[in-house]
């Protein structure tokens, strides 16, 4: 199997497995013995692949996810420790080695089946299938807001509860007392009747011989002691004194530094390289020609970079040298119209008869929306350190998918995946960008030719211009309102589909819906960008809903509220946001208020934004965010993720725009790909509803709703409907209502 994508995986998973599961983390087979060599220190007992106990009774939780600021390295151990009744003060965390035994099939199940239940008699077969698939796919990734939802809920909790179950059994056997008389607490097992108490470790060697239950009894939320509390994060102290090790900080003996310049036009191959000016330059070690790029290896990064600037490079023509943004949009429109006329579109939702309802309705509203390409712009530019010898390759990198990286490097070097070792480091931001192995493959190639360890660092310009972009898109709507101002029919056409599949769906009561999409390939590389398809559909659907409210002469909040009779969870979230934001209260002149409601990766989020329109732009004063993630396992961390996702989405809404000209990206650094800074950052209030539904994500769900809430607020303040992002391209006029 080649490179995996989450979508490809889902297809494979569904085809092979047929359907869904809940539970089971330690099956199939206890892999504790297999992983012992990888994770155990002196005297430690490996209970199952996710945890080990040391002689001093400290427990180490093995976490198969990268830490990129979302708190995974703390929340997952909390989930395990709580189910195990471990003493939190004696719990440590260790990131799982990038090894196929750690292929995380809880994720596979999660992505395929989410929260569905599954007949237990099939579990062995299905788990076997999942484990095989995950190993094949090299699935040990961080993203899709998945760690708590799937690894936490489908692996960590079960591993903790199962370990506790066998420890209790071992104690019952040794003390010859009934199991029910025993208690586990603070990493001890006690038998109150006889006043005996011993640490977990004293039963561990016997316990590990027992077979661990695949479906141990889990705690109910009332029994949680750690889950649902905001414990301090393990990774924070190292992030305040400069000691946290990011990929870019790695240092090896004999290491050299590399700078790289790739073809500005995606897909172009290297044609000529004139390095005459630098061949004899002091400190320059080697000039490496890659397929589509040239790199300089030198004693220091600055030498490499300045030398690279002196190399004259030309690239082959690809035929895309004349592609520009206007042309891309023109192509989009052509393809949308052609596929509509030709009837070769993909159907997303087709219920009732939208066409007939639109034809017969008195009031039809239409709207077209556009969003631009977006770059990830992680704070830490792409980088990777590699060391290649005859029979081994090691890399040091912060990545969201270590097994995937190992597999593709093995393929490049004609090695077995076992010969490739990925040392994952802290990620200076991921947001989906660090799924892609491009920089690692370059580093390996360069290090192999340079014959020494090499740290490759991309300049910010390289990072901005060689990203995998959130695509530009167009979404067209046509809706019919009935005489009471309710939505009778909803027709929506857009381009492309990745995930989550429900991104373009609306929660409102609309009997007649036709949602469909076309394709329109370009040469611009696509990648997962925080909240993926929701990052655009949130803006599209929630803006158009607002337009409908306006045409129905209804208040935008009430218009939504009155059409949620089939979506009680959505309704609660919406009402909470409106209540906390004091919806309806008077605002100063030139201020406006806007609302949005969107579900993303299992978490429902409503946002109310307050803006002030000024002579020179817009000031976002306040964001009220209500969210139902099912259960917030770490409320403070959840709140931090809501804030983070809002600033990320606000940056995109106000400024985010990557444009293509002459086949290449125009923007290059933070001066022309602007970020929201502290002076523009609004007050954000987050309110959480623990509804008890299956847990949703935290890292992504707040990003989609900020753009529509913002532009709806601008409409409220000015009467100007923004149908194309970013906001910076529009002239806003205070105190002059243009009705749109």
């Amino acid at each position: 199997m080649g490179k995996w994508t989450r979508r490809a995986f889902i297809t494979t998973g569904v085809l092979t497995g047929g359907a869904l599961v809940l539970g089971v983390a330690i099956r199939p087979g206890n892999r504790a013995r297999k992983v012992k060599g990888m994770i155990a220190g002196e005297g430690e007992t490996v209970m199952n692949i996710w945890l080990k106990i040391a002689l001093d009774n400290t427990i180490t939780v093995i976490v198969p996810h990268a830490e990129m600021g979302q708190g995974t390295h703390t929340t997952l151990p909390m989930m395990l420790a709580d189910e195990m009744d471990a003493d939190w003060n004696k719990v440590h965390m260790m990131e799982a080695p990038g090894n196929k035994e750690y292929a995380n099939y809880a994720l596979a199940k999660g992505f395929t089946i989410g929260d569905k239940d599954f007949p237990s008699f099939l579990i062995d077969t299905v788990d076997g299938v999942y484990l095989t698939i995950t190993k094949q796919m090299g699935l040990q990734m961080t993203g899709g807001s998945s760690s708590v939802r799937f690894t936490g809920n489908l692996a960590m909790r079960i591993a903790g509860a199962a370990a506790k179950a066998v420890l209790l059994q071992a104690a019952a056997d040794r003390w010859e007392v009934p199991l029910e008389e025993l208690e586990a607490k603070n990493s001890y097992i006690t038998h109150p009747a006889s006043n005996r108490s011993e640490p977990f470790i004293s039963f561990a060697p016997q316990a590990v011989e027992l077979s661990q239950p695949a479906k141990p009894k889990l705690k109910t939320p009332e029994e949680f002691t750690l889950m649902g509390t905001s414990l301090t994060r393990f990774d924070v102290p190292a992030k305040v004194d400069g000691s946290a090790g990011f990929g870019i900080d790695v240092s090896l003996p004999e290491m050299k530094y590399a700078a790289i310049k790739a073809a500005p036009v995606f897909g172009a191959k290297l044609k000529t390289v004139d390095d005459s000016e630098i061949v004899n330059m002091r400190g320059v070690h080697k000039i490496v020609r890659l397929d589509n790029a040239v790199a300089v290896v030198a004693d220091g990064y600055w030498i490499a970079k300045t030398a690279l600037d002196k190399v004259k490079v030309t690239f082959e023509e690809t035929g895309n040298e004349t592609v520009d943004q206007k042309g891309i949009y023109a192509q989009y429109v052509r393809d949308m119209e052609a596929s509509l006329a030709g009837g070769d579109e993909e159907k997303d939702i087709n219920k009732g008869d939208a066409e007939a309802a639109l034809k017969n309705s008195g009031q039809v509203v239409e709207g077209e929306y556009r969003v631009p390409y977006l770059a990830h712009a992680t704070m830490e530019p792409m980088n990777c350190t590699a060391h290649v010898t005859a029979d081994q390759c090691e890399i040091w990198v912060g990545c969201q998918n270590p097994l995937g990286f190992a597999n593709s490097i093995a393929e490049l070097l004609h090695m077995e995946p076992d010969q490739v070792q990925v040392h994952n480091q802290y990620l200076g931001g991921g947001f989906g960008r660090r799924f892609v192995d491009d920089v690692a493959l370059q580093a390996v190639h360069i290090a192999k030719e340079a014959d020494c360890p090499v740290k490759l660092i991309w300049s910010r310009e390289e990072d901005m211009r060689h990203d995998f972009y959130r695509e530009a898109n167009i979404s067209r709507f046509k809706a019919a309102l009935d005489s009471e101002g309710k939505i009778l029919a909803w027709n929506n056409q857009y381009l492309f589909k990745h995930e989550p599949p429900e991104a373009p769906h609306i929660p409102y009561d609309v009997a007649n819906q036709s949602i469909h999409y076309a394709m329109s390939e370009t040469h611009v590389p696509w990648g997962y960008w925080r909240s993926v398809d929701s990052s655009m559909h949130g803006f599209f659907t929630e803006s158009f809903i607002d337009e409908l409210a306006h045409h129905a002469k209804k208040d935008p909040f009430e218009f939504r509220r009155d059409q949620l009779s089939n979506a009680p969870r959505f309704l609660k979230v919406l009402e909470l946001a409106a209540e906390k934001a004091d919806w309806g209260a008077a605002l100063p002149e030139n201020w406006g208020r806007g609302i949005s409601l969107h579900q993303c990766f299992g978490t429902i989020v409503a946002q109310v934004v307050e803006v002030e329109v000024l002579e020179d732009g817009v000031k976002v004063h306040r964001v009220v965010c209500a969210a139902d993630p099912g259960f917030a396992f770490h409320p403070d961390g959840f709140e931090a993720q809501m804030e983070s996702g809002i600033i990320y989405g606000l940056t995109a809404a106000l400024y985010g725009e990557i444009t293509i000209d002459q086949g290449a990206v125009v923007q290059s650094n933070f001066h022309d790909y602007q970020m929201v800074r502290m002076d523009e950052s609004p007050k954000i209030e987050t309110y959480i509803i623990n509804s008890g539904h299956y847990p949703g994500g935290a890292g992504e769900p707040s990003t989609p709703g900020i753009a529509p809430a913002l532009t709806n607020a601008i409409f409220n303040a000015t009467g100007l409907r923004i149908r194309e992002l970013p906001v910076k391209n529009h002239t806003l006029r205070p105190s002059e209502k243009i009705l749109g």
Partner: protein, 162 residues
């Protein structure tokens, strides 16, 4: 060339035009100072030169010789964290953490000049530092907390001395 960083002399060898950032990271081995943009836009590379916050990606090595350089590794006293670092932990400020050395160094320079900054002062002083994870509100809380803590300790000191 001798470069004095965090009260320690480092023998370094580089073209005098090399940005201080790369010398600190690669030759002094102090990697807490980060590269973010290289053009003075993001603040990830912020260090202090004679107490003034500067962007080390734009500061040539030659301008730093004979100066006292302070980096994130140099603001704690021994094992006792600086009030800002302590506040950062209490407020759980960092997410990915990559920008935070620069944020703390900018905040440190701010508090040296202004012991009780207002929200506007903080906005002004900190807007050269980008945080892609959007931790701005927590940074602000952290600065206020540290300012309060520093005010408290300095009053206690005065009282003790008096």
């Amino acid at each position: 060339m001798i470069l004095k960083v965090n009260d320690k002399n480092h023998e370094v060898e580089a073209d005098p035009a090399t940005p201080l950032l790369w010398v600190i990271r690669e030759q002094c081995g102090l990697t807490g100072t980060k590269f973010g943009c290289g053009i003075g836009q993001c603040g990830a590379c912020t260090v202090q030169m004679d107490g003034v916050a500067v962007r080390s990606c734009l500061t040539p090595l030659q301008a730093a010789v004979d100066k006292e350089i302070t980096t994130i590794e140099g603001i704690a006293s021994g094992t006792a964290l600086h009030a800002l670092q302590q506040a950062w932990i209490e407020e759980q400020v960092p997410q990915c953490g990559y920008c935070q050395s620069g944020q703390i160094m900018s905040a440190h320079a701010l508090l040296a000049n202004n012991a009780s900054p207002t929200d506007d002062d903080i906005d002004q002083a900190m807007s050269g530092n980008i945080c892609r994870c959007g931790t701005y509100s927590r940074i602000k809380k952290g600065i206020k907390k540290a300012a309060a803590e520093l005010a408290l300790t300095s009053t206690t000191k005065i009282e003790n001395n008096g």
